[in-house]
Symmetry: C2
Subunit: 300 residues, 2 copies
């Protein structure tokens, strides 16, 4: 394999992904579970080298650009937030991280903050910049579903405002650690149950507190299947996310960025509200965004 | 200590509590962490004997009456649910459990089920019967806050309907296992933050999904204190519980049954909605209910 021109890194709470980039695009990729949650401060450089050392050469300095929680206060090195409204990225704001290995020239992309209502993102700003490279002039809303789903209003190339929902984290906690786990073994899916729960939660979000335990009770006394229980929990949680995000999507142009299956689920949920959302793949957006980040604005 | 006439047992998911009862009332009590969650089927009898054997005598059979998850399908022995509307207890429905130790005569109180909307309770029916012994002729709503809070409409001595909210379990998961835990160390409490979050969640429950992550974001960028974050999380979750339970409490006579501090929190929350709720101590209600359960109805 030819040596890469630079290396793109997506470094979140639970994962580390690296892409070797050459003049024609991605030459190779690699991933590990060495997310921020697993690492002490002095564990970051060894974790990165375990992944990318095959792409380095003696006496040659390779540029690495990383986004995500790696730049948080609990991460490797803090890259202070930029404050919205602002462009998703600014090449001049990248933060250089001192490394022991002289072959690395590492810079981190700062996240974004919003002062009121208080909110923060790290990593999504890069995906948004990448999406804007694919959809130049896009004016509307990006939805990035996941552990902490983001709804992001973009206009004239700037992030105007955004809102986070803990939907993925709530689903994970409730389906694997709460009393509801007893009725949710396996990974089946009942689409009609999803749609009904979604519709119920969007139209009557105030009933959520009464809807959750019903999944357990119906499992005990009415034979609710695991496939139906999982789909209903997903529908309820995405439903209250959509209810809270209504000012973001109502009457707007919406594009989804994320994992394919999850984006498809959100697309169906939005379609039920009359919104036809585009879908963009997360990894491609991340790489395109990191590529923009390393390029000074004038040449973008 | 004189030997007890009978032994009252409250056996839930996380705890086991026993009370030695004599002609004048409670002679002694004992508790352990041997809840249903800790025990395999053959572990129940040894766990009970560890706690109550000082109260037993050779050649003497002692009556034991127990309520709670011990009677669930995953418990020691299944006591099938009774279906509402019905009285909270029926002495004739107690289920006798075979024991190896001949000194025990053990019976379990069945829980209650509601077919539509599906819901179940185990243990609370006993506390409700005990509360009705203290408040004869009570017509209104019992609220039993906790891991799984119950709202129970009672009329003419019968449980008419009920509704469960997973408020305590959600608080526990979010404050100790989600990303919000980083800003919630310690056990401080900011009452004004609680009241504001409560009021916000009751009046705009559809905003919940956007309110949770704000606790993390304000901790990161606005210096939100742990005391304020904990109180706000509690206010948000109790607020959406109250929003979902509005048909239960609005314009009703409400009595709270539960741990003193938690009941006081709910009483303040209800007071902010114009409801003056009575407070009844959980243990006394449990013992009074178990006492009723062992007495055939005609002598009640």
């Amino acid at each position: 394999m030819a040596l890469p021109t630079w290396i793109a890194v997506d470094w979140g709470t639970t994962h580390l992904r690296a892409y070797a980039i050459g003049p024609e695009g991605v030459l190779a990729d690699a991933a590990s579970e060495d997310g921020m949650g697993q690492l002490a401060r002095d564990g970051y450089e060894p974790a990165l080298l375990r992944l990318i050392s095959p792409w380095l050469a003696p006496g040659r300095v390779t540029e690495v650009v990383a986004c995500g929680m790696v730049g948080s206060r609990q991460g490797w090195f803090e890259a202070p937030y930029r404050t919205v409204p602002c462009t998703p990225l600014d090449s001049a704001s990248l933060v250089t991280v001192p490394t022991r290995d002289a072959r690395l020239k590492l810079r981190l992309v700062p996240g974004l903050r919003q002062d009121s209502p208080a909110d923060v993102m790290r990593g999504e700003e890069t995906q948004i910049a990448g999406a804007l490279a694919v959809l130049p002039g896009f004016d509307g809303v990006f939805c990035l579903p996941g552990t902490h789903s983001k709804w992001v209003q973009v206009s004239a190339g700037e992030v105007v405002s955004f809102q986070t929902a803990m939907t993925g984290e709530l689903f994970s906690l409730l389906s694997s650690q709460s009393v509801l786990r007893h009725g949710m073994q396996g990974d089946g899916w009942d689409e009609q149950s999803f749609r009904n729960a979604l519709s119920d939660a969007i139209s009557r979000p105030e009933r959520l507190a009464a809807r959750l335990f019903a999944l357990r009770a119906e499992g005990l006394i009415a034979g609710l299947s695991a496939a139906s229980a999982r789909a209903r929990l997903s529908g309820l949680l995405i439903g209250i996310e959509l209810a809270a995000a209504r000012p973001y999507w109502l009457g707007q142009s919406v594009a989804l960025i994320g994992a394919e299956g999850l984006c498809a689920t959100y697309a169906r949920a939005l379609a039920a509200q009359g919104i036809a959302a585009r879908q963009l793949p997360a990894a491609a957006c991340t790489i395109a965004g990191l590529s923009r980040a390393r390029t000074p604005k004038v040449s973008a």
